[in-house]
Symmetry: C2
Subunit: 234 residues, 2 copies
C-alpha cells in the first residue's frame, strides 16, 4: 500500500512531522498536493467521506483517512517500528508528541499572537511581545523538559535507546528554531547539549540524511510555522 | 483500581475533559489536588518516575502515569466504552479530540494573546483584537465543523448513535463559551441547533447530571480557560 499524504505544498508546516516519519520508515508515499493536482485535490477530499478532517495534514492509508499530526504519528508509529509495542510505551511517546504539538502552536503564535486570520504585518508589535515571553519563559520550559528526559535516560533518544517519531519531531523543532531565531537559538542551545546531539544523531541517519538532501524536503520559508523575521530575533 | 487524577484544584481547565469522562464512565477516582495534600502532592509526582508529565492534568492508573488530556481520554475511552472498539473508530474519535484540543488553546489565547506568562490585565487591548478574530473566523469554523458532523450522521452524538468522550468535550465547549461570552454565544448558537441539542442530551445523562449538581463540579471562574470578561463579550 502506498500512503497518500495531504498537506499544503508550499510549506513544511505540520505536515513535516509526518514526512519525517514516513521517510525514516522508508514507507512508500505520495505527497499529493505537490503533484499536478495541487491543493485542489486536497480540498476536495477534505469535504468527503465519513471522517472529514478539520484541517491538513491528513493521511490516506488504504480506506482510512486520518487527520491531526499526532494522530497520524500514533498510527504510523505502531506500524513502522517508530514507537514501542507496549501500551504504556505507546502512550508515553504519544504524550510527548502532544507536548510538541502544544509547542508548535506556541511557536506559530510568536508571529501570529492576534490570531491565524490576520497578516503578520498587522500584528508586529504584539508579535514582538509574545516572542519575548516565548524565549524568556516557554523555550526554557519546553526544551529544558526534553533535555532533562534525554539526560535521565542516558541520552541516545528521548525515550531510550530506540528512535521514535518523537525524536524526529524534536529534530524538526531544533532545526526550525535555528532557522527562525538564529541569534537567540545559538545562545540558548548551549544550555541543551543533549538536544543538540540528538539533532545531529537524527540528521545523520541514512534515510533522514537522504531526505534532507532531496527535493522532497521543502525549504523553510515565511509561510510556515517557523518564520525568520529579523526584528523578532533581536 | 481507583484512578488518581492530578490537576489544579481551583479550576475546571483541561482537567474537566477528564473529569467528565471519569464521571460518565462511573469510574472510581480521586481528584488528588482537591484533597488535603493540595497542589503540592501533584507537583511532587510531576517530577518523579519514568514518564514525568510536562504539565497537569495527568492520570495515575495503577503503575501508569499518563499525561496530556487527549492521551488520557484515549486511554480511558478504550477501557470504559467511551470510544469505538475498532482501530479506525478509535483514531477518528481521537482525531476529533485533538481538534478540540486546538480549539481549547485558541479559547485560552483570546484572553492571553501575548502568552501564558503575563496577566490578562497587561494584554487587554490585544485580547480584544484576538477575541474579535476568534468570533469572526474561528468559532464559525470549529463549531460549524462539529455541527456539520452531527447533521451528517443524523445527530444523536458526534460520531453516531453512541456517546464518546468527544461528546462530553463538546458539551464542555458549549458550556464554557456560554459562560465566557454569554451575549456572543447566545447570538451564535442559533446557527448550531444540533450542537445545542447535543449539549442538552449530554447534560441530561444521569451520571453527568448528578456530577454537574455535585460539589465535584468546580464552578467556572476567571482563573480557568473560559473567562468571563465583559469587555470581550461586547
Amino acid at each position: 500500500m502506498k500512503y497518500e499524504l495531504y498537506y499544503w505544498p508550499e510549506i513544511q508546516g505540520r505536515g513535516e512531522y509526518v514526512r519525517l516519519a514516513l521517510e525514516e520508515a522508508g514507507a512508500a508515499y505520495l505527497d499529493v498536493a505537490r503533484g499536478s493536482g495541487g491543493s485542489g485535490a486536497m480540498m476536495r477530499l477534505m469535504r468527503q467521506g465519513a471522517t472529514p478532517p478539520f484541517a491538513p495534514p491528513f493521511l490516506k492509508a488504504g480506506k482510512l483517512v486520518i487527520g491531526q499530526t499526532a494522530n497520524i504519528l500514533l498510527y504510523l508509529g505502531a506500524r513502522h517500528g517508530l514507537a514501542p509495542k507496549t501500551e504504556a510505551g505507546r502512550l508515553w511517546v504519544h504524550q510527548l508528541q502532544l507536548t510538541i504539538t502544544d509547542l508548535v502552536l506556541e511557536i506559530h503564535d510568536t508571529h501570529h499572537p492576534l490570531g491565524p486570520s490576520l497578516y503578520y504585518e498587522d500584528q508586529k508589535a504584539p508579535a514582538k511581545k509574545r516572542t519575548e515571553d516565548f524565549w524568556d519563559e516557554r523555550v526554557p520550559k519546553y526544551l529544558g523538559y526534553f533535555e532533562g528526559l534525554l539526560k535521565d535516560n542516558g541520552g541516545s533518544y528521548v525515550t531510550g535507546r530506540r528512535i521514535t517519531y518523537v525524536d524526529l519531531s524534536v529534530f524538526q523543532i531544533v532545526e526550525g528554531l535555528r532557522y527562525a531565531f538564529p541569534k537567540r537559538m545559538k545562545a540558548f542551545e548551549k544550555k541543551t547539549p543533549s538536544l543538540v546531539s540528538l539533532r545531529d544523531r537524527v540528521a545523520a541517519r541514512p534515510k533522514i540524511k537522504a531526505y534532507l538532501e532531496s527535493e522532497r524536503r521543502i525549504a523553510f520559508n515565511e509561510q510556515g510555522i517557523f518564520r525568520c523575521y529579523k526584528e523578532l530575533d533581536a
